[in-house]
Subunit: 155 residues, 2 copies
DNA sequence: TATTGTTATACTCTATAACTATA
DNA sequence: TATAGTTATAGAGTATAACAATA
């Protein structure tokens, strides 16, 4: 078997033939998402904020008092796993839980004044992140096109 | 504070105002990728195959004898974490490690005859998966457009 | 000294079951 | 009985450090 040799000859150090999977939708989605999340994490690492934390704060600005399980489902997170996320945001003082008076089983979530101020502080970082993506994509038209296509895969 | 009440009134049971993040590229990428991977996993669960395993087998068909660390890097997986993946494929008899005669540090990876037969068996499932995505996207033109945009985010 | 594969380890994310308090 | 939040736990995926064999 001379596969080793044949491979060595046909391929130089780090060139792999990708033709079989480079156009697989799932593969491309994974790589793109990893790249975008890495950019996000590098931008927000100093703030100790993860994408999900940011999404929760953003959501609450327009959904004050939303049910905890409602927010979790909206973000595709199981309610059991969402508890620790809210715990973290609550410990930092950015989110407050209040027992609903209508149904004492539910916790309604509120972004605090401190949380809003924090978001204000974060918005420029967020904008810069989105603008880096915009530059890579080649403009708003391309971005809107991408969003539209992604929505067809999940909405 | 009547946030609970105000929220309750403005929003019915499970309707959350998403306007703040619905057009965030990273959020849309994550949801789309989760949806696509879920479809993949449901299709392949009976075969006990994960997306990464499939990608490795696909890659090896055109890169017989490739270095283990080369394949890992091509797929964006760290070499330390790639060991267990190759172990699994080797235990199933789909991949073989052979010590390179040129550099005895490197393991060159080969897909076996059994691995090729397995892939043949899997291809219809793969095709159906890609066609379900194609249907969601609305045709090949849309798919190619999406792939092109994703490549701009990472290539 | 540097690199490849490997082991060990830790941390995050995700999935499931079961408990509690309320309804 | 059913539901919201919670706890505990197990499984993936990922990141880092260190080691042996080899270059």
């Amino acid at each position: 078997m001379r596969d080793d040799q044949a491979g060595k000859v046909a391929r130089n150090a780090s060139v792999i033939d990708f033709s079989m999977i480079e156009d697989a939708v799932g593969y491309r989605l994974r790589r793109a998402q990893l790249s975008v999340f890495q950019d996000f994490n590098e931008a927000f690492s100093a703030k100790g904020l993860r994408p999900t934390d940011f999404a929760v704060l953003m959501l609450l600005t327009r959904n004050q008092g939303a049910k905890q399980s409602e927010v979790a489902e909206a973000l595709g997170i199981q309610r059991a796993n969402f508890v620790a996320i809210v715990d973290g945001l609550e410990n930092k003082g950015f989110v407050a839980r209040r027992k609903s008076e209508v149904d004492r089983r539910v916790q309604s979530l509120h972004i605090t004044e401190q949380g809003l101020a924090y978001l204000d502080d974060l918005m420029p970082i967020w904008q810069e992140h989105e603008e880096r993506l915009l530059a890579k994509l080649g403009g708003k038209a391309a971005r809107d096109q991408l969003i539209g296509l992604l929505k067809r895969l999940y909405d």
